[in-house]
């Protein structure tokens, strides 16, 4: 068994934390897991990509066209990572655009959302959710990453048990935010 997902977003959105939760939950269920992340420059509002791979895997990054799914916290980042996903794979993305600062300065442009979604849907199974909305419902926009994990779980892309996710979330977030994050996970899960 080999499963690979790419989690993408922007520095500060909790991408690396989300990927870590997936990896630790996978280990709880007894799977071998390999993950890659990029530090440093990515913290300053740049795009961030993490790969999580489970099963009989060695490489911390994926070959183009082989990831089972992309979980993107922002529509443009879903498109940026599209070459990584396999044909007819799943692309789960949040629908709230964050305009790159360079675009505000007139360098490059941000395509219309419909255009982004059309391009993705041509190759893959596209699932759109308003994770910002659900995160706010859970109690804080900062739970957006856990909302996305709830969706990921409900999509059954990875063979990780719900209780392993919940246990890992409890171990990862500060105690006073545990309840809020579990609510976020469930809201994400129920949305799918």
């Amino acid at each position: 068994m080999k499963k690979s997902i790419v989690i993408a977003g922007i520095g500060g959105q909790g991408v690396i934390t989300a990927a870590n939760i997936v990896a630790k939950a996978a280990l709880k269920d007894g799977y071998n897991v390999v993950m890659s992340e990029l530090h440093g420059m990515a913290q300053r509002g740049g795009n961030v990509e993490c790969t999580v791979r489970i099963g009989n895997v060695y490489s911390p990054i994926v070959a183009n066209g082989t990831a089972d799914a992309i979980i993107s916290f922002e529509p443009l980042e879903a498109l940026r990572n599209l070459p990584k996903v396999k044909k007819n794979g799943i692309v789960l993305t949040d629908i709230n655009p964050i305009i790159p600062p360079l675009v505000s300065l007139g360098i490059g442009n941000y395509p219309k959302l419909e255009e982004i979604f059309d391009r993705i849907a041509k190759h893959c199974k596209l699932i759109k959710i308003n994770a910002d909305d659900l995160a706010r419902k859970a109690g804080s926009i900062l739970t957006k990453n856990v909302v996305m994990l709830g969706c990921l779980h409900a999509l059954k892309i990875l063979p990780i048990k719900e209780e392993s996710y919940i246990k890992t979330i409890k171990e990862t977030v500060p105690e006073k935010y545990v309840e809020m994050n579990i609510k976020a996970f469930n809201l994400g899960k129920e949305k799918i």
Partner: protein, 615 residues
């Protein structure tokens, strides 16, 4: 604390190295932070502060040294006195340390000393992608190359043992995809209840490297490295797996790509995995070559293994085709990835990769870039804005290593030339001599202490005429807020004596020194004007804390908003000041309250007083 736990854990490669050092009972850890190495020492720092918080004695000493050379010197002395030492740095840090390092190889060590070099193929966060395996050969020091976090931990422990056996420091060479990969690591029982060890300096050794002694030491070093070659031939870190007529020789992260490529392509062949890559296991390699019809070497960057292997084949008279750099997609630049290795091995084995095995989307996405930028509220933005308001258009801006290098991007464009740590001041001296243009050099506080001081003395002594702006944000921001000599608390969480930068600069003989808070734009502009007019060297210390640090400390913050009635849509706030908290909502300029830090600089930028405190 997870790093002190036991059993199976998911660890970052860098955390695994820290854990390995702790399991090996390390006594001294020194570093200068640099991506992708920083988390090794940061983990050690966290363990020290955690143990302190539980009231336990910390059984090791740790320091963020002023630079990599000092870090190696400190650790070499500790190791000579019999303690186990770990020194970590990024690849270019080795260049700084190399003066000490090259001769340290002659002198050797007593307690095990592991020197970690974290290389950065593809320059993810570096100014070059030099292959530091060449340093092992250059200095004649043994080198280990792990492929994943588990090996990173195991080889760290092995490296301490090897170092003590050979009485030589051992290089542990990792790359970004090992340092920043996470994987399952098996942790053994860890004893953190030991007492701090005391070293002892034995006088009379061959340790004063005057020519007469250095001449004695070089052949001794070569004898040691011959012994290391025997160890390499017997080492289980160099192993062969699989069967078949063809052979692959590989090391480091490339091993992972090879393993998966063979699996996915359904190919059976022999793999020689090299874990100890200097000295190469010559006998074992010769044996392997003899048993193969054809061999391909898969390694990132320089043909380090390949050249070594070709020499071995020639010397032993083995007539086998050895393929490497230049074949398929194997290049000497950038990191490898599964695509490069899969396609090359498919070609090597005469297999179709793309069509038969994996469905690939050949999609060209051309998406607007999202490079890292200065954070909302970053004081560097205020400094750059002020400088651009008053400096002549053709001013040359030598820059340095840190967040402020991001001034390269529009609209600031306050970065024209960069070589390495500290180069802003040295090249500032040169540009001020070579041209009639104004020169303003930018350097961060940590970088200034690291490598700016000798260059500033040069500027003072030779009376060079330019401006140095020291961007003092009280921390080593880019690599994750490590403390530096200007701080009151060190990496162990203990009190430390902060260096007074203003006194230091004045003490070096700089006549024109001003300290400003860049968040007061008028004050900043006036000071920069005075500095530019001054005939001679001038230094401006632009002092304001990194906003990420300040946000952690301050609970309350004033937020700003646009008064739409006053806003004339001139968009100076977006096009000239370029704080990422500003955005256009249809035709209105707005401030994103989630991003605004309340730094208070933008109201000074707006010509129409349209930016107000949110009530």
């Amino acid at each position: 604390m997870e790093l002190l736990g036991k059993g199976k854990k998911v660890l970052l490669g860098n955390e695994a190295i820290a854990r390995g050092a702790l399991e090996a009972g390390v006594d001294v850890v020194t570093t200068y932070p640099g991506t992708p190495s920083s988390e090794i020492a940061d983990s050690i720092s966290m363990v020290a502060r955690y143990l302190k918080s539980t009231g336990k004695e910390v059984p090791f000493y740790f320091q963020y040294s002023t630079n990599e050379k000092v870090a190696i010197e400190f650790a070499s002395a500790s190791s000579y006195a019999g303690l186990r030492a770990l020194t970590c740095m990024k690849h270019v840090g080795m260049n700084v340390a190399s003066d000490a390092f090259m001769t340290y190889a002659y002198v050797g060590c007593n307690g095990g000393h592991v020197i970690v070099t974290a290389d950065d193929p593809s320059c993810h966060s570096s100014q070059n992608e030099q292959d530091n395996r060449l340093y092992a050969k250059f200095a004649s020091l043994p080198m280990l190359e792990p492929s994943n976090p588990q090996e990173a931990k195991d080889m760290t422990i092995k490296a301490f043992e090897l170092s003590e056996e050979l009485k030589l420091p051992v290089i542990l060479r990792i790359t970004t995809r090992v340092a920043h990969a996470r994987g399952v690591v098996e942790l053994k029982e860890l004893n953190m209840n030991m007492k701090k060890k005391e070293g002892k300096f034995e006088k009379g050794g061959l340790a004063v490297t005057v020519p007469a002694i250095a001449r004695k030491l070089h052949p001794i070093l070569l004898e040691k490295i011959e012994k290391a070659r025997k160890i390499s031939n017997e080492s289980e870190l160099n192993f062969i797996e699989g069967n078949g007529e063809y052979g692959i020789i590989t090391s480091g992260v490339s091993y992972n790509y090879v393993k998966e490529a063979l699996d996915d392509l359904g190919i059976e062949c022999k793999i020689f995995k090299i874990g100890m890559s200097y000295p190469l296991p010559d006998e074992k390699i010769a044996d392997f070559l003899k048993k193969c019809k054809k061999v391909i070497v898969v390694e990132e960057l320089e043909p380090f293994l390949e050249e070594g292997i070709k020499v071995i084949a020639k010397e032993k008279g083995i007539d086998v085709e050895i393929i490497g750099k230049g074949y398929g997609n194997l290049k000497r630049y950038y990191e490898y990835n599964p695509d490069i290795v899969y396609s090359t091995l498919a070609e090597f084995f005469g297999k179709e990769w793309k069509k038969e095995n994996i469905e690939v989307n050949d999609i060209e996405v051309n998406v607007a870039p999202r490079p890292p930028i200065l954070c909302p509220g970053c004081p560097h933005r205020a400094t750059y804005y002020a400088v651009k308001q008053v400096a002549p258009k053709n001013t040359i801006y030598p820059t340095d290593i840190g967040c402020y290098t991001l001034g390269l991007l529009p609209p600031y464009e306050t970065a024209d030339f960069l070589l390495c740590m500290g180069s802003s001041i040295g090249t500032g001296c040169g540009f001020s001599y070579a041209t009639k243009q104004k020169v303003i050099s930018f350097i961060g506080d940590s970088t200034f202490y690291h490598a700016g001081l000798p260059a500033l003395i040069n500027a003072v002594h030779h009376n060079h005429n330019f401006v140095v702006v020291i961007l003092d944000n009280y921390t080593t921001a880019m690599t994750g807020h490590q403390p530096h000599p200007g701080n009151e608390i060190n990496g162990m969480g203990n009190e430390a004596l902060p260096i007074d930068m203003e006194k230091l600069v004045k003490g070096m003989g700089v006549k024109h020194v001003e300290v400003i808070d860049p968040r007061n734009l008028n004050e900043a502009k006036e000071a920069i004007k005075r500095a530019l007019e001054y005939d001679g060297l001038s230094v401006i210390i632009s002092k304001a804390p990194c906003i990420l640090l300040e946000r952690k400390l301050k609970k309350e913050r004033k937020l700003y908003q646009i008064n739409q009635e006053k806003c004339k849509k001139c968009k100076i706030c977006i096009t000239k000041f370029a704080c990422p908290a500003f955005y256009m909502d249809k035709n209105e300029v707005k401030i994103n309250p989630a991003l605004c830090t309340g730094c208070g600089v933008c109201p000074q930028v707006c010509p129409f007083d349209a930016i107000e405190v949110m009530k």
